[in-house]
Amino acid sequence: MGMIQFDVLTISGAILLIATFGVIARRGFMDWLNAYRLQSIVLAVVTAIIGYVTGIWEIYIAAGLTFVIKSLVIPKVLTHVTKSLEIESKTDFNPYLSLRASIIVSAFLVTMSYFLSQQIPFKSDPVVNVFLPVSMAQFFLGLFALVNRRTALSQVVGLLVIENGLFLFTLVLTHGVSLIIEVGIFADILVGIVISSILLFRMSRTFDSLDVDRLENLRDD
């Protein structure tokens, strides 16, 4: 393949990573959602690029799906669910780590995922070489967001980021496995989001807050 493609891949990967960082850095829920939407769009583009590079047509479908579901449907659902809530409960005022600290940790995680990818010997497949670490990084950053954030909403978003990472990861390594599985995964995620939004709804009813600190009745100490 040509130099250009490679550059395109690298650049898009970089953009994706930055978008992910954007998601990590934001506080207010709406900013989150926008960041996530942005990231999803980038993801869709990346998917398309991969499709172009590898020349497997299913991947275009996947890209389309991604664009539709992730950057349109899910944000819509979430905004709908949280319409009734007032702004405070949607904003994550005090995560466990300060912004600066969390950036450092994320940086560490990114390096770790690159390191991890080094462990895995690959045939010289540029797509994999570029995007495997990116997807891993996305994954771990999402996980970190889950660990770090205190409101249920932001945890949902963290889940979504993880899921994006997964999607990219699967895509990169499998070049679109048998489409059934892709769809299955998609469906699972979608249902998961729906259920969690139901839960969010209920939570806001019962606890009139989405603060996960409220969810500490079940414990042993």
């Binding site: 249920a152 993880i162 990861f169 699967t170 496995v177 599985i181 998961g192 209920r202 500490e216």
Partner: protein
């Protein structure tokens, strides 16, 4: 058996719960849907026994090309699913009926409950019979979602909390599992396999050619991922919450069957990675997690106030013992582990049912408030004792044999230190678990209650299980023995024949 009949078998097996669910949605009358579900559950039971018979005779059964593939190991997992599914449905009638009578749930809930139950069964049935590991992952994830729905059936605060934790942690965990799966797939691809690269059969076939480093990392992801779902410490944290808050029949299914499905995933990949690296690698990982789980369970049981939480922790312990057996390896170890899967799946639902009935009678799950069960409800009390003693591995009940085998294999494989540690943990667990059990069963009830056992439909499922518990204590049928032997040879050799 030829491919057609094989296909039919599978189709019927999967259709039964599906149709059951649909019927439930169609007529929304409580009595009817109860009967429908019971029928479908018993149908499943019968079909599973049929399949088992087939497997015992001709080792494997594959349908739709290689999409579905059942070997002895899958059958071993299939058996508890059907049995526990049946008894749970049977028990649900009485249990949910009472909840309904005291107005805790309404018709809408009942319908939703039985729909959920059917789909739950369906998804769990797919896990051990599918050949495609990706599909397996999808179904396991599906079980999570459905069980979350079942847990948050009636929106009590704790139920919501448990559901939330369960959802988040399980999803995160399973995402690890997906990564692992894909890694394995990639390893398979790069090993040069073209089609059915996601199929377990294919993977085991090529496992010799896989890249070791990749497999190592992949297995770690699988272990953490499915381990989260299987409740191996320290990823077990969701388990006590979910099990304690779910409706009792669901808790029985969760701990009796769902955990096994997750372990099934681990063991499948364990076979593959043993094919590549030899068993030593995955064994030590399994042993580490197992010991941690058993220890944490032993520690946590003592301080529990809630009956079902205590049972949940004992599930953690038993999952630990199973993976310990697999980790120790050897004929004894693996056989013991498989036997332990079945035994635990028999004994734990018994305990859950008993505790469910008791907590309905006493209107609390708090153990300190429950006294003198044996006086208030003699039969349930006796069954409660049987289940409890079985769970702590007391002969002449079933779990004794499997634990005996597992521990022996520990010495066989030269893991003296680990075995001694585990034995001491088990002694501690014995003491602390029985302490709660005895305190609840004997003594005098705090307030005067009339003596009854909450109806036959509450008793019968327990009696079925209790009989199995006792019989398996000192007699295991020939067929089951052969089945277990084949299964353990599959795991042991990492060979498919």
């Amino acid at each position: 058996m030829n491919s057609i009949s094989a296909n039919l078998t599978i189709v019927f097996l999967l259709l039964t719960p599906l149709v059951g669910g649909i019927l439930v949605t169609v007529f929304r009358k409580k009595r009817i849907i109860e009967i429908v579900t019971i029928c479908s559950a018993s149908l499943i039971l019968i079909q599973v026994f049929f399949i088992l018979y087939a497997i015992i005779n001709e080792k494997t059964l594959s349908a739709f090309g290689n999409a579905f593939y059942i070997d002895s190991f899958g059958a071993v997992i299939l058996l508890p699913i059907s049995i526990v599914g049946f008894v749970s449905v049977l028990y649900s009638k009485n249990y949910m009926g009472r909840q309904y009578d005291i107005g805790l749930v309404d018709d809408k809930h009942i319908v939703r409950y039985y729909q959920g139950l059917s789909i739950f069964l369906l998804s769990m049935l797919i896990v051990p019979i599918t050949n495609n590991l990706g599909v397996m992952w999808v179904t396991v994830e599906a079980t999570t979602l459905i069980s979350v729905l079942l847990i948050m059936l009636y929106f009590k605060e704790n139920a919501i909390e448990a559901a939330w934790k369960y959802l988040i942690i399980a999803t995160v965990g399973l995402s690890f599992a997906l990564i692992g799966t894909v890694f394995f797939y990639y390893a398979n691809i790069s090993a040069g396999s073209s089609e059915d690269a996601m199929n377990w059969t294919g993977m085991v076939h090529n496992s010799k050619l896989f890249d070791p480093n990749l497999v190592k990392i992949a297995f770690v992801f699988i272990l953490v991922g499915y381990g989260t779902k299987a409740g191996l410490a320290p990823m077990h944290t969701w388990l006590p919450d979910a099990h304690s808050e779910a409706p009792t029949p669901v808790s029985a299914l969760l701990s009796g069957v769902l955990l096994n499905c997750a372990l099934y995933g681990i063991i499948r990949f364990h076979i593959v990675s043993s094919g590549t690296l030899g068993p030593a690698f995955s064994n030590q990982l399994l042993i580490i997690l197992a010991v941690v789980s058993i220890g944490i369970a032993a520690a946590s049981i003592y301080f529990q106030k809630d009956m079902k939480r205590m049972l949940a922790y004992s599930s953690v312990e038993h999952m630990g013992i199973v993976s310990l057996g697999i980790g120790f390896g050897g004929m004894f170890g693996i056989y013991g582990a498989l036997l332990q899967i079945i035994n635990h799946a028999i004994a734990k639902p018994l305990m859950f049912f008993a505790s469910g009935t008791v907590s309905q009678k006493y209107e609390t799950k708090v153990m300190s408030k429950i006294k003198g069960i044996i006086k208030v409800m003699p039969i349930t009390g006796a069954l409660f004792l049987i289940g409890g003693f079985a769970l702590v591995g007391m002969p002449p009940f079933n779990i004794f044999l499997s634990e005996f085998l597992v521990l022996s294999s520990g010495f066989q494989s030269g893991q003296f230190l680990v075995t001694m540690i585990v034995i001491s943990f088990l002694v501690i667990t014995f003491a602390v678990f029985l302490r709660h059990l005895i305190k609840m069963t004997f003594g005098n009830p705090v307030l005067e209650m009339k003596k009854d056992d909450m109806g036959n439909l509450a008793i019968i499922p327990m009696i079925i299980l209790a009989t199995l518990v006792i019989i398996f204590g000192f007699y295991i049928p020939e067929q089951l023995q052969t089945l277990l032997h084949n299964a353990s040879s599959i795991i042991n050799g990492g060979s498919i024949t």
